[in-house]
């Protein structure tokens, strides 16, 4: 059972990690807690569902198209809302409230358009196989999600550490003002970040929709909570930390179920968040810098 629980922890954690990846990226670069990330996550799932069922597009094409849709939505939020607030130098409270508004808007619109029923992707899309290895069972799709979130994390870390765009992004994260003095096109990088983060959020929505029976207009809210916990555990704005934070959160929850009782599982994750903020506001895994990539 213990081995199986470790597998469960990794699979649950990688779901959180995948969501947290884009979420933390926006905070790291834009310095904004984008509370509409849960909404984008939901829209991504619906976009893919629509493409698959209404337009009958094959999955390999629907995935990037839905990610594109989510990304464009993120870009629109940046251009229409966050950019305006940046121009004005609004205090950090303002983007939070505006993105809450955007999340409410998205939830309400998709409820009006798609109804409030929980839906799922056509079951025959992927085989729901799992492979067994001794006492341990691993669903194939879950393994895929885990692999994908680790892959995306490695990709993001590589981009941030090794490429020129990454260098520029890190400069922006450090200080947008200084970066623009260095001739870095800060605004364009903000747009890019918003797009990429939202596309990642959309991908998370699609993948979760694939492995669970979970597509509903309200799917974003609980995930947003977990995402907040994950990125704080990992250190706000830290890409590597977000994934580690997500995995840690998954492990903590599974541990809570296994060793304690499942009733206090949620209290554990938010209690952890609370304690981490008090003792290590930079996160469990980060060094001292909080906004570094």
């Amino acid at each position: 059972m213990f081995a199986q629980q470790i597998v469960n922890a990794i699979s649950l954690g990688s779901v959180y990690a995948l969501f947290a990846l884009g979420f933390t990226l926006v905070f790291g670069i834009l310095g904004v807690i984008n509370l509409s990330h849960g909404g984008i996550f939901m829209v991504g799932a619906y976009a893919a569902l629509l493409l698959l069922t209404r337009f009958e597009i094959p999955f390999w094409a629907a995935l990037p198209l839905a990610m594109l849709a989510a990304g464009l939505l993120g870009l629109a939020i940046d251009l229409l809302i966050l950019k305006q607030l940046r121009k004005r130098g609004a205090p950090h409270l303002m983007p939070m409230i505006a993105t809450i508004g955007a999340a409410i808007l998205m939830t309400s619109l998709s409820q009006g358009l798609f109804g409030s029923e929980t839906r799922r992707f056509p079951l025959d899309l992927f085989d729901q196989e799992s492979f067994s290895w001794g006492p341990v069972t691993i669903p194939v799709l879950q393994a895929g999600i885990t692999a994908l979130s680790v892959l995306l994390m490695l990709l993001m870390v590589w981009v941030l550490k090794r490429t020129r765009i990454g260098q520029a992004l890190r400069a922006v994260a450090e200080s947008p003002k200084a970066a623009s003095l260095l001739g870095i096109p800060v605004e364009r990088l903000f747009h890019l970040t918003s797009f990429v983060a939202a596309a990642l959020g959309g991908a998370a929505g699609i993948l979760i929709g694939l492995s669970f029976d979970a597509i509903s207009p309200f799917m974003g809210q609980p995930m947003l909570h977990k995402g907040i916990a994950a990125i704080i555990l990992g250190g706000l704005g830290d890409v590597r930390g977000a994934v580690l934070g997500g995995l840690f959160l998954g492990a903590a929850e599974v541990f809570a179920v296994t060793v304690l009782s499942s009733e206090y599982r949620d209290a554990l994750s938010f209690g952890l968040l609370f304690l981490v903020l008090l003792w290590r506001p930079q996160g469990l895994f980060g060094a001292s810098a909080t906004r570094s990539a």
């Binding site: 809302i81 607030l85 939070m96 409230i97 508004g101 409410i104 938010f270 209690g271 506001p281």
Partner: protein, 287 residues
């Protein structure tokens, strides 16, 4: 439509306007010294449960129940405030959010709170004058604070905490005061709310309500006590006013939020804007 049938229909709405006004004021208090705390829904919940348990299970007098519902959240705020208020900005917001979730899960798992079923059959004790009195006391308290050294200290801390400390202001204590008073007001509002809605469940005090309360204050504006009251009233009325939109009712709510943040960053009630108007009118009068 005559008065009594109007009152029959809308009395709960009117009580809600008052109670949500108090909640918006409770978060205004912390915002006015620069603290973004999302714990007020949890404090409201603690106050609501405390006072409902007092009347429902112990059959204590309503006034005493409300008193307990005010004091208990304040005491909790005092205990968590000491460590939590060292944080600022987004970190404080997230920590208080986490605290709120912990409170929700605890309410969900205690026996005395009725778990997920909550408390039902709470006696209908809240009448209009309770709300008016509580609201008046809250406003009087906040106004008294505002025009005193404590109110000035709030403002100074919001603008520049370091400078405020160097002016001899014990910022830690002042912030704790705002946090604790905010919790007390939220708790009182919760106690009142419990006794005109007759039922409580942990879900009433989660993230969504925390956000609602914050939104009211920001929508109305936090330049004075009138703003949060206005914001509370509007967001309480809005769902009723927008009934015609049906499924898209909440979409309008979201749009309004975005629009206010974008186009009226100081909120609807903005004395500076009014002053500008008055001044332009004044110069015209002189000419």
């Amino acid at each position: 439509m005559d008065w009594s049938s109007w009152w029959d229909t809308y009395s709960t709405l009117v009580l809600s306007i008052g109670v949500y006004g108090m909640l918006a004021l409770s978060i205004y208090l912390t915002l006015s010294c620069g603290l973004l705390s999302l714990a007020n829904a949890a404090f409201m919940g603690i106050g609501a449960y405390m006072s409902a348990i007092a009347t429902l299970q112990f059959e204590w007098p309503f006034a005493f129940a409300l008193f307990l519902g005010t004091v208990l959240p304040a005491a909790v705020a005092f205990l968590i405030g000491i460590p939590v208020l060292r944080l600022s900005g987004v970190y404080l917001a997230m920590a208080t959010l986490g605290f709120g979730e912990v409170v929700r899960v605890v309410l969900l798992n205690l026996d005395i709170t009725g778990g997920p079923l909550g408390l039902n059959g709470i006696p209908p004790l809240t009448t209009w004058w309770h709300v008016v009195l509580a609201l008046a006391l809250t406003v009087a308290l906040l106004q008294a604070l505002r025009r005193s050294r404590i109110g000035r200290a709030f403002e100074a801390i919001r603008e520049d905490e370091t400078a405020a400390r160097l002016m001899g202001i014990a910022t830690d204590r002042i912030k704790l005061l705002a946090f604790v008073l905010g919790a007390a007001i939220a708790g009182l509002a919760g106690g009142l709310n419990a006794h005109y809605t007759f039922t409580l469940s942990p879900g009433n005090f989660g993230f969504e309500s925390a956000v609602d309360i914050l939104t009211m204050a920001v929508l109305g504006g936090i330049q004075g006590v009138a703003g949060p009251l206005l914001g509370g009233a509007i967001l309480t009325l809005l769902p009723e006013l927008l009934r015609g939109l049906q499924e898209f009712r909440m979409a309008a709510n979201g749009l309004i939020l975005i629009a206010v943040v974008l186009f009226m960053p100081q909120g609807l009630w903005d004395p500076a804007r009014f002053r500008r108007w008055r001044r332009s009118r004044g110069t015209r009068a002189e000419a």
